[in-house]
Amino acid sequence: MAPIFNYDNLSSEEADDLVEQFNNDGCTATKEASGDKWKVVADCPDEEASGGDVE
């Protein structure tokens, strides 16, 4: 099952940075409000399903 990673209690800048990193890392990440803070939810496909390099 594809893992969904969660980071909570973030500042807006931290969440933006994390979303960018996850998206560059092959995931679909979103920034969501969590009280007066922010959280990032990253849906990352399985390694097998991501079509990685074959060696």
Binding site: Y7, N9, L18, C27, E47
Partner: protein, 228 residues
């Protein structure tokens, strides 16, 4: 190495004879071992001068253990039986009533690690019979020491399954991010280091390594291994 090869060959031959027929054998336990170990360190221009560390390890073991006392020159240390020698089997026993065909306790293992912070090779091998085997087998600490999985494998598995993580970047985070940004090829090198440390790889895993508090020790170690 040559002599050990002969021992191995001889042991295999004797074992084959004892299985195939009723040929008398010597009442001697034979144990043979052969180990090939090689290390190659190179730095090729094609690889940007980055050193490569290759370890090769090959091992063969053979044991011939006589079970039936039927050697030409077999003698009983204490003869208080009317049985024929060929009817008597070597046995192991404890102070109780437990008996087995032969008490044997053996381990063949190796532990090889390499990295910029040092390389080490550990070869563990022993072979015991009789009372020594019984005592080793009854010692729980010996069993723990010979565990097939490393002691921290369970913790590593739990770490790889974590999905709720805490952001806590540090100096190693900055170094690894800069390393990734400097060359597209560095992603594969980083993932290779993660695999060597037992960490899962794939989408999102590098981001977690760089950012999560839970991976702080690993990213410090990996940054060091990468020479950062």
């Amino acid at each position: 190495m040559r002599s050990s090869r002969k021992i191995v060959s001889g042991a295999v031959l004797l074992a084959a004879i004892s299985v195939s027929g009723c040929v008398n054998h010597n009442d001697v336990l034979l144990f043979g071992t052969k180990t090939n170990f090689g290390v190659e360190i190179s730095a090729t221009p094609d690889n940007g001068g980055i050193p490569e560390f290759i370890v090769g390890y090959k091992r063969r073991e053979a044991v011939f253990m006589p079970l039936v006392v039927n050697g030409n020159d077999s003698k009983l240390i204490k003869s208080n039986t009317t049985e024929k020698l060929s009817d008597i089997k070597y046995t192991g026993s404890t102070t109780g009533t437990d008996r087995d065909a032969y008490s044997v306790f053996a381990s063949f293992g190796a532990d090889v690690t390499g990295g910029s912070d040092g390389n080490s090779v550990g070869l563990a091998q022993f072979f015991a019979t009789g009372i020594a085997a019984q005592r080793l087998g009854g010692n729980p600490n010996v069993g723990k020491a010979l565990s097939v999985q490393p002691p921290d494998s369970e913790a590593l598995e739990q770490l790889n399954k974590l999905t709720e993580l805490t952001l806590n970047k540090d100096d190693s985070s900055v170094k690894l991010q800069a390393y990734l940004a400097s060359d597209d090829a560095n992603k594969k090198k980083l993932e290779a280091e993660m695999k060597k440390s037992g960490l899962a790889t794939g989408p999102g895993r590098i981001t977690n390594l760089i950012n999560a508090k839970e991976f702080a020790d690993f990213r410090k170690k990996i940054a060091t291994n990468l020479g950062l």
